[in-house]
């Protein structure tokens, strides 16, 4: 049990930053609930990124605490009560920083690989 717990934790650590950026980006398109976020990421990545529940929800709740996103209960179109997240101004700033860092890193890695 203990080791499984660690596994989940490690997975968040591993994805941290990147996952945050992806979630924030998906919320740019409009308020969404957790399931919606995971479906959107899967669809937009061409079914490549499968965000685990065990990573998604800790990330959402952490970002909520950091005030990057805000949550409220709402009804879905299918009349299902769900917790909807929307990005805050602070979240947008964070997203911008994350993106520029990401671009720098991608460029750096690319230049190494192409050297």
């Amino acid at each position: 049990m203990k080791s499984e717990h660690e596994k989940y934790r490690n997975r968040i650590d591993l994805l941290q930053g990147t996952l945050d950026m992806l979630i924030l980006q998906s919320l740019q398109w409009g308020p969404q609930h957790g399931y919606g976020v995971s479906q959107a990421l899967r669809a937009r990545s061409g079914e490549v990124l499968q965000v685990e529940t065990g990573s998604l929800y800790p990330a959402l709740h952490r970002m909520e605490r950091q005030k990057w996103i805000a949550a409220e209960w709402r009804q879905t179109e299918q009349n299902q009560r769900a917790r909807f997240y929307k990005i805050t101004a602070e979240g947008r700033r964070q997203l911008a920083t994350d993106r520029s860092k990401w671009n720098t890193m991608v460029a750096a890695i690319a230049s190494i690989l192409e050297a």
């Binding site: 717990h5 609930h33 065990g54 709740h61």
Partner: protein, 887 residues
């Protein structure tokens, strides 16, 4: 529902919504319901665990980190127990001393008195310019204050019953403190009875009779005399044979007057003042009262002082005697709480509190030094953690938690030390100081203790932590920190701290030295009488048994006779108050040669001279030839002679003069001048004093009956007091049962007790001073030992290159010498500056006494050098081969 459980339910719902949506979508895509459900659950994984990990994001994580840090700190302490013990012991000493002193000061100075809104209670006393004489007030004056003043809600008054007061209860008579109180007093204090109606609040006046004949008992008096009988109300209680009806019993802890803040409560009784003929005048025949008043809400004491100053001018104008008019011209309005503590004791306690604070600072500095040393040793570990991504704040938090754990342990240990110290102080504190050293810890103390602990932790660990995290990571990792360049800066810092410790210790040592010299000087003041081998009993005389009887014939003569025949008794005598006894003081205004003179009056038996070995400046002492029917005789002291002798340089010029009428037609002539100087305190010469022969005092000797108010039995004996006292007590019990309660002491002890606040301060400063010295030496040793171990390689290289071992010894000693000299230099400055604080306690020595300063400095320097010698010798013995190999 708590916030936490609501959020928990929210999360459950959120995850459940996720599951439902996933299932619904799969069904919409055409999967069967069981299939869809299984697939969705598989995809979502271990849901409880998902929730668990999510909940961790909610911010309780800092608590968990704190837990980690705590566990880590405990592990660290277990790994180096020597360090932990030193640090905890040092801090515990500091915290314990400060907590103990704070407890005492809190009890003595800070607690509000146990009355309703006690801050508004004030005392009113008449006095002359310069406050030389302070007077209780007569009713006529009080009445005038009551009608003229606007500052007070109410003015009440009280006076102690004359002579000794005995409450005759179910069994033996109990000596009590009896007070006559104005009928509005208890209501003014806001005091309620535990049983009975108590006094009916009534404004004092000549017609006030609502409470006549009623008596109120304190809880202790009720328990001790009547066994706590709940049916006591309405019963008759006899006080000195006079019957009173019990109308109330006060709750435990109630006391009026307060003898001293928080001092133990003895049995008390209160009866109403009956205003009568004795309350119509302003002369010595009138009753004089202690006056206590309650300020109106919002009225400042300064305003009351200003108002009363004006009123008192009119009051004083009505005194006929011009001298008395001056003597009553001012009115002292003081808070009741402030009036209870001796200014001397207050200063002593505050100075000692400051001293304990200094000791605590020294301890904190010492622990800071220890932690600095350790943070140096752990530099590599800290650098490694930094390299692995730990933030500076995180590392600092962890080190401060370590400091907190150490301080927490120290606080627990410190409380133990404080309790021990207080009970020790209790046995050391002189009886007449009467400070309450009760040892229960309450909220104030605990709060103060927590504050001290936190402050200690922050003081001692924040700095080292800051130093540690600010050190650059790279060199520490590269070189292992051992010989790193930042070590030099660290060492300079630590040397500075040791110097500060030395300076503060020196301040304490100087204060301690000054008080020890004071005590020494006091012990060697020529008293003018012997104090060895004298047992003294302060007699608890049942005065009421001897009203209109000759107490001499019925009590004293037989008592002396039997005491003299006890085994081992060389002489037994009676005197109103033995020198320095502080039990009894009556000032009389006498007529001599047509002048008013003022002197204390005492009475004694002839043997007193032999017991105390008193010498005469002129004339003779009483002898057995002085009898009730022979010529009246009196003896005076040198202060009397200096003040009133016709020829100031010749005491014998007083002989033959008449000072007092023993009774109508029996004048007392001065037959001798004693050669003793120290009657009230060792530090100061006596006030003028007249002694008369006990056998010549009879019931006819007028209003003043010194023989039944106070009497000390003094016995010169070869046997030890512990053997003598029980025998004397038996003898007293046989004479009258109440006398068995007499207080016994020895003359040596009485002298010792008279040093009062000086002795208390000296004893505590001995403890503080030696603790400071110890800490300081330990700090110095610790630093040098550390420096030597750090420089092993350098020392090895020096030897390998041909340095003499003596040079290395000198190298370390020089470093110690510099620290000590700097510390001593600063310390001397501090000691001179703080001299003001102790000046009031000193006798025969100045606050900037060169010998004491030099002695303390030398002691500190020598102990410091001794502590430095051990590491220095180790440095000199470094084996170059081993030292170089060790790297």
């Amino acid at each position: 529902m708590t916030r936490f459980s609501r959020r928990k339910r929210d999360l459950d719902e959120e995850i459940e919504a996720h599951r439902r949506m996933a299932v619904a979508e799969r069904i919409a895509r055409g999967e069967s319901e069981p299939e869809a459900r299984a697939a969705a659950e598989r995809a979502m994984g271990n849901l409880p665990l998902v929730k668990d990990v999510t909940r961790e994001q909610w911010g309780w994580i800092w608590l968990e980190r704190l837990g980690q840090d705590f566990r880590y700190a405990v592990r660290q302490m277990r790994r180096s127990p020597g360090f932990a013990i030193t640090a905890i012991g040092t801090l515990a000493l500091g915290i314990g001393a400060a907590a103990a002193m704070f407890t005492v000061v809190d009890h003595a100075l800070l607690r509000p008195l146990p009355y309703k809104d006690a801050a508004r209670l004030v005392t009113l006393e008449e006095e002359g310019p310069g406050a030389k004489n302070v007077w209780n007030a007569v009713w006529v004056d009080i009445a005038q204050w009551r009608s003229a003043s606007r500052s007070f809600e109410d003015i009440a008054f009280s006076s102690g019953m004359r002579g000794r007061t005995f409450l005759q209860g179910n069994s033996a008579a109990l000596q009590v403190d009896g007070q006559e109180v104005s009928p509005n007093l208890f209501a003014m204090l806001g005091a309620k009875t535990a049983l009975g109606r108590g006094f009916i609040a009534e404004q004092p006046s000549f017609g006030a009779v609502k409470n006549a004949g009623g008596i109120v008992l304190s809880n202790a008096a009720w328990h001790d005399a009547f066994g706590g009988d709940r049916n006591i109300i309405g019963r008759v209680a006899r006080v000195n044979d006079e019957p009173w009806t019990v109308i109330g019993v006060m709750p435990p802890g109630f006391r009026f007057p307060q003898s001293f803040r928080g001092a133990p409560v003895g049995p008390l009784v209160w009866v109403p003042v009956h205003l009568g003929d004795k309350d119509t005048g302003r002369d010595y025949k009138s009753d004089h009262y202690n006056v206590i008043a309650r300020l109106r809400r919002g009225v400042k004491i300064e305003a009351a002082r200003a108002e009363m100053a004006t009123i008192q001018k009119q009051v004083a104008a009505q005194y006929e005697d011009p001298e008395e008019r001056v003597d009553h011209s001012l009115l002292d309005v003081e808070r009741y709480g402030d009036s209870l503590i001796d200014a001397d004791v207050k200063k002593a306690l505050l100075a000692l509190l400051a001293a304990s604070g200094v000791l605590w600072l020294i301890a904190s500095v010492n622990v800071t030094n220890l932690l600095l040393a350790r943070s140096m040793a752990r530099q590599r570990e800290i650098a490694m953690r930094g390299a692995l991504g730990a933030s500076r704040g995180r590392v600092m938090q962890q080190m401060i938690v370590e400091g907190l754990v150490i301080s927490g342990c120290a606080a627990v240990l410190g409380v133990g030390l404080a309790l021990g110290a207080i009970s020790l102080t209790k046995s050391v504190a002189p009886i007449n100081l009467n400070v309450d050293f009760s040892t229960h810890l309450d909220l104030t103390i605990l709060a103060a203790l927590c504050g001290l602990t936190l402050l200690s932790a922050v003081l001692s660990s924040a700095w080292p932590a800051l130093m540690a995290v600010r050190a650059p990571i790279e060199p520490a990792l590269k070189q292992g920190g051992q010989q790193a360049g930042s070590g030099r800066r660290h060492n300079r810092l630590r040397s500075g701290l040791v110097a500060v410790e030395v300076a503060m210790s020196l301040t304490l040592l100087v204060a301690c030295g000054l008080l020890l010299r004071t005590i020494y000087t006091l012990r060697h003041v020529p008293l003018g009488y012997r104090t060895d081998h004298i047992v003294v009993a302060n007699l608890s005389i049942p005065s009421w048994r001897y009203v209109n009887k000759s107490v001499n014939a019925t009590l004293y003569q037989p008592l002396l006779e039997r005491a003299q025949h006890l085994h081992g008794v060389q002489a037994a005598g009676l005197i109103s108050e033995v020198p320095l006894g502080k039990t009894f003081n009556i000032m009389l205004t006498l007529r001599m040669n047509g002048n008013n003179i003022s002197a204390a009056l005492k009475t004694a038996t002839p043997d007193v001279q032999r017991i105390f070995g008193m010498k005469m400046l002129a004339g003779r002492f009483f002898s057995n030839d002085d009898t009730p029917i022979s010529q009246g005789v009196a003896v005076v002291n040198p202060a009397f002679a200096a003040e009133y002798a016709p020829n100031k340089h010749d005491p014998s010029s007083l002989l033959g003069m008449t000072v007092w009428n023993l009774r109508e037609g029996m004048p007392a002539r001065i037959i001798g001048v004693l050669d003793n100087e120290r009657q009230k305190t060792v530090a100061e010469p006596s006030q003028p004093e007249v002694e008369v022969c006990l056998c010549q005092i009879t019931p006819a000797s007028g209003i003043y009956q010194p023989s039944t108010i106070a009497m000390d039995l003094a016995v010169r004996t070869d046997r030890s007091p512990s053997q003598m006292i029980p025998e004397l007590r038996d003898l007293l019990r046989q004479a009258s049962p109440e006398l068995a309660n007499s207080r016994f002491s020895t003359m040596d002890q009485i002298v010792e007790d008279s040093f009062g606040s000086q002795r208390l301060a000296a004893h505590l400063l001995e403890v503080f001073g030696s603790a400071a010295l110890l800490l300081c030496v330990a700090g110095l040793y610790g630093l040098l030992a550390y420096v030597v171990s750090q420089r092993t390689r350098e020392l090895g290289v020096r030897i390998a290159l041909g340095a003499q071992r003596g040079n290395l010894l000198w190298l370390v000693m020089r470093q110690a010498g510099v620290m000590l000299l700097v510390g001593v230099f600063i310390g001397l400055g501090l000691a001179l500056a703080s001299g003001r604080l102790v000046r009031g306690f000193l006798y025969g020595v100045k606050a900037h006494d060169g010998w004491t300063l030099a002695g303390a400095a030398l002691l500190l320097f020598a102990s410091g050098m001794l502590a430095a010698w051990l590491p220095a010798r180790r440095a000199a013995r470094v084996n170059p081969m081993e030292a170089l190999r060790a790297e």
